[in-house]
Symmetry: C2
Subunit: 119 residues, 2 copies
DNA sequence: ACAATAGTTCGACACTTCTCGAACTCTGGA
DNA sequence: TCCAGAGTTCGAGAAGTGTCGAACTATTGT
C-alpha cells in the first residue's frame, strides 16, 4: 500500500466529520447563521459572531440544554478543523472555518492536486 | 430533533464515503485518471473511459489482484453515488460521477440552500 | 463562599465499519 | 464443456463510533 499523505488524511478526516447527519446539520446551521469572522478596530481577526453551543443545540435538537452528544459532535467538527469555538463568558461561541470548507470544495472541484496520483 | 431531510442524508452519506483514506485515494485516482462520462450519439450518458477495478487496485494498493477490501470500498463509493462501474467483458470499468462531486462542492461553497435552517 | 448556568468529560453499551481469507459468480477463450 | 481471469460476497474478528446519564469544570451573579 503506497503511503497516504498527511494532507490526504486531514481531508479524509474532514469528510468523515461531515459524514454524520447530525454534524452535517450543525455545519450547515453554522454556515448559515454566523458571519465567519469579525475584525475589530485594532485590526485583530477576532472570532466569529456566531451562535453559542446552546443555540446550536436548540436549532439541531430542539432542546435548550447542550447534551453530551451535541458536545461530542461539536468536538469532532472542531478537531477536524471545520469549526471554531471560543469561550465568551459562560458560553462558547461557535463559528465555521471557511478556509477548511474552501479546501474541501477545491478538492472536490479537482482544483487541488490529486494526491499520490501522477499524471 | 427536527427531521433530517433525504437530501441531507444523501450528502452525509457521500461525505462519509469520502471520509475513509483508502476511498479518498480511490476517488482522487479516478478523478485524475478518467474522463468522467461520455455521451453517445443517441444522447445516452454512457459510462466512463476509465480504469478497471484491477487498475485502481494496482494504483492504490500496489497489488494487481483486486482484494475483497478494495471491492468493498468501491462498492461503498458506488452506493454513495460518487462513482460508477460498468461491466466490460471480464473486467469492470470505473468512472467518477462528476455531478455528485459538484453537488458536494456546491454544498461546501454555500451555494446550496442550507437545509433545515431558516434565515 | 455558595448556587446556578453552560458545557465537557467519562464509562458503558449497542451498533457499525474495516479487514482478511475462503468460497462464489460471471465472462471469455481453448 | 472445462478452465482461467476478474471481481464480488460471505462470515468472523478487531477496532471504531454514536448515544446516554452521571459526574465534573469553568464562569457569573448574589
Amino acid at each position: 500500500m503506497t503511503e497516504t499523505s498527511d494532507r490526504e488524511c486531514r481531508i479524509a478526516a474532514m469528510f468523515r466529520a461531515l459524514g454524520d447527519p447530525t454534524r452535517l446539520r450543525i455545519f450547515s446551521f453554522l454556515r448559515s447563521c454566523c458571519c465567519p469572522v469579525t475584525v475589530d478596530e485594532s485590526g485583530d481577526v477576532r472570532t466569529v459572531q456566531g451562535p453559542t453551543a446552546g443555540e446550536v443545540c436548540c436549532s439541531i435538537t430542539g432542546s435548550d440544554k447542550v447534551s453530551s452528544t451535541l458536545s461530542f459532535h461539536l468536538k469532532e467538527l472542531r478537531v477536524a478543523g471545520l469549526i471554531t469555538m471560543e469561550r465568551r463568558g459562560k458560553t462558547r461561541v461557535c463559528g465555521i472555518n471557511t478556509e477548511a470548507a474552501d479546501e474541501l470544495a477545491a478538492f472536490l472541484s479537482g482544483g487541488a492536486t490529486p494526491p499520490g496520483c501522477d499524471d
